[in-house]
């Protein structure tokens, strides 16, 4: 089995690691870098709990090998809040709208919505729901997440 040195940027910081070929990006983030915010819910690409951004686009980290991330820019949930710890507009909207219960699917939801709101700053509720279909939640029934997304979209448009 081959071993690969990878160099990538994670949440703005340069990282380096040596990984076996079969180590996924999710495994590398969690075990290699200790960034346990990215969660494993199924390891077959359906639940979306492992969603991260690679070069600004959402990716299921359980379906990508760490070696494929060489040279890439990765953003995880740990990279959303300000250095001071202050929640960003989307995170604050989740907090204000009860957009999470157990919190396990939440990092994936946040990353999906980060890309979505960037591409669609003024979405309808139907468009938000459609965008969320790649992320499963068993706790909330999605209502709080949808409300949070629309609330965040409003705030981000005001800030812009």
């Amino acid at each position: 089995m081959s071993s690969h040195t990878i160099r990538l940027t994670v949440n703005g910081r340069s990282c380096e690691g040596s990984v076996e070929a079969r180590i996924t990006l999710a495994d590398f983030l969690r075990d290699g870098l200790g960034l346990t915010g990215t969660h494993l819910g199924c390891e077959h690409g359906v639940c979306g709990a492992c969603t991260v951004l690679v070069d600004g686009h959402t990716v299921r980290a359980c379906l990508m090998f760490a070696a494929q991330a060489n040279g890439r820019e990765v953003t995880t949930v740990e990279g959303l809040a300000a250095p001071s710890g202050a929640l960003n507009a989307l995170q604050q909207a989740f907090h204000d709208n009860h957009g999470l219960q157990c919190g396990f699917c939440t990092p994936g939801m946040l990353m999906t919505l980060t890309e979505f709101l960037h591409d669609n700053p003024d979405p309808s509720e139907a468009e938000v729901r459609e965008a969320l279909t790649g992320n499963l939640c068993r706790c909330t029934g999605y209502a709080g997440i949808v409300a949070a997304a629309l609330d965040a979209a409003r705030r981000l448009r005001q800030e812009a």
Binding site: E20, T36, G41, F94, F104, L136, C139, T140, G141, V146
Partner: protein, 781 residues
Amino acid sequence: MGARQFGARVKRLEDPALLTGAGRFVDDVKLPDALLACFVRSPHAHARIRSIDVAPALALAGVRAVLTVDDLPEPMRSERIPNLMTNPAIKVMRTQHALARGEVCHVGEPVAVVIAESRHIAEDAAALVEVDYDVLPAVADCRDAIKPGAPRAHSDIEDNIAAEVRTEYGDVDAAFAGAPHVYEETLWLHRGGGMAMETRAVAARYDAASDLLTVWSSTQTPHLGRRIIADLTGRHPEQVRVIAPDVGGGFGPKAPFYAEEAVIPAAALRLGRPVKWYEDRREHFLSATQERDQHFQVAIAVDRDGKILGVRGTLLHDTGAFMPWGIIMPYIAAVTIPGPYVVPAYRLACTVAITNKVATTPVRGAGRPQAVFAMERLMDRVARELDLDRAEVRRRNFIRPEQMPYAVGLIFRDGMPLVYHGGDYPRGQAAAIERAAYDGFRQRQAKARAQGRYLGIGIANYVEGTGLGPFEGVTVRVLPNGKVAVATGATNQGQGQRTALSQIVADKIGCRIADIVMTMGDTAAISQGIGAFASRQAVNAGSSALMAGEAVRSKIVALAAFTLGVAEDEIELADGEAIARGGNQPRLSFGELARLAQGMPGVSFTAGQTPGLEHTAYFTAPQASYCNGTHIVEVEVDVETGGVTLVNYTVAHDSGTIINPLIVEGQVQGGVAHGIGNALFEWMKYDENAQPLTTTFADYLLPVATDVPTCVISHIETPNPLNPLGVKGAGEGGTIPAPAAIVGAIEDALAPFGVHFAEAPLTPERIVAALRAAGAYERLG
């Protein structure tokens, strides 16, 4: 009690960590030097184990051990996992061994465990363990299991029947004999799994210096876990600590004690290094408990006005291969059927069948969705046959508020007579009817039909026993640094208990919510505990928090009054300070008072001083607390594809006084989503050899954001007289009537075709098949 926090939409304390990726789920707990485990699981539904050869697996680099049942410590080696719920009706009680001994009875049953330097290596090695199986005939369907000559699910259990329970009151045969109308239904409901987004996980570390075995488990019941792990390892309970850290959803299947929760600690003890196991999703489908099929044959006898004279029938419940949670679900189903209606006579004969599938234990609703489905479909049938509006039939049969407290005539699963202590069922239904614009629906439906669209409306009521005992304790302790430590046996899998309990304590003792430091789900923090299930924590832990807060408040006031030299009724508590009214308002901070209460070595306490400012309270409820509610759902059915869209969903519910409306709404909404899954999507399928067929999220379907509308929720708060807070449980009410309401709505939409549904999940394929059989497609052209 101050009402500042209680009843307010306080934003959750749990959120900031979870939103920033700083949650600590079991697999996030960093245990340096940990080994990783992978279980070898039976690929057969029923087989005898002839031999296990672990040598090829042990030979792989990085493998530290491969354990089978004989490698486990006594008594785990010889004894089975204990059953927690006895019942005299159980003929045959069967639970698992920690690792299979001699015989495996479901696909996925753990047979051996590989411990290695990484999960990758452990999986490589698990594939090399050679188990020689003697495959035996298996039984998959519970209806087949009870037929004479059926294959034995366990080779030593003769007839696959674990229990037969009869639940009855009144003279039901006389009621039927004299009835003008009798209607029969054959109903089937499948529940599937809890399917939390976080699978199970267990980590264990033994510290020889303190002789302490610490176990982290993604469990709803750490105290039960400690009790059992201590027993199974032969250790003193004080030498075992179980911690449920952040848990990514529970919903029931994380309540029972599992074999893996015994084996991983045993491995850590044996190997002298920490051991971690993180279940993968396929394992979860195979070996995490589920609720499965219930088959009802029920009949209702009514008079000419549609008033119920009696209900009788049979229930066949599939309990799977093991019964760690006894026969709770069929029992609950049996006593839930009468619901909010006056049912003068009742009998349900229940048979619990053993099959070669993973054990059945409660999933959100615990038998009630099935019972409500049976009763509500019967009510819809009465309405259809007598040409009455479905809401009207229900209205005619409600137990009226003036009849409260109402003794149903049965014993509930809490061991106490089933007595509804309060609730206004007609009012609940009326509230839902109004919010749902039910009365205008026929017009909307007719208009849609003229356009070739098929809209339908469904209604379902439920009564739910919540807040089950025996207790859940809370300790409140003011610390010398001014913080208020709260410890509880209550656990958190997303229900927001940390926030709700903080609201109660903050109000009671006058501290800031931000100053509360809460420890939940840790057996070291409080000596007695039960855990989360049956929507019990708000009632039990909430009331304990109130009682402990009350006691600590008294101590703070007494000590402050004594120290400041004023009367107790001069003292006010606010924002972590005790302030004397009047004059220049001298004050003492809680921290200062806590230091005073610590005492000085050698110096006597005077009257009014007590050691510490702390108190532990264990509220015990006299019986279950009964919630009720009504769901009304509008659907649109695409008659060509069988596709169902939920147009809107209305809930009126009474779960007593509400601690935090944000949290309760979230529980209702989430519960409804689960119910939508049960009604339309979730089906754990097995083939005739009890091989699981749906073992991924691509095959077992959970509702996604486009499937679940945002519910319109009306809260009715009838304070519960059974506890000092007035609360009831709110965790399962959203799920319980949903399948009944949704299937009823689909049937209503397709009324022009005369199709009738008595099953869930109700899939588009089944809808199309029913329409075809009814000649719908010829008519539609």
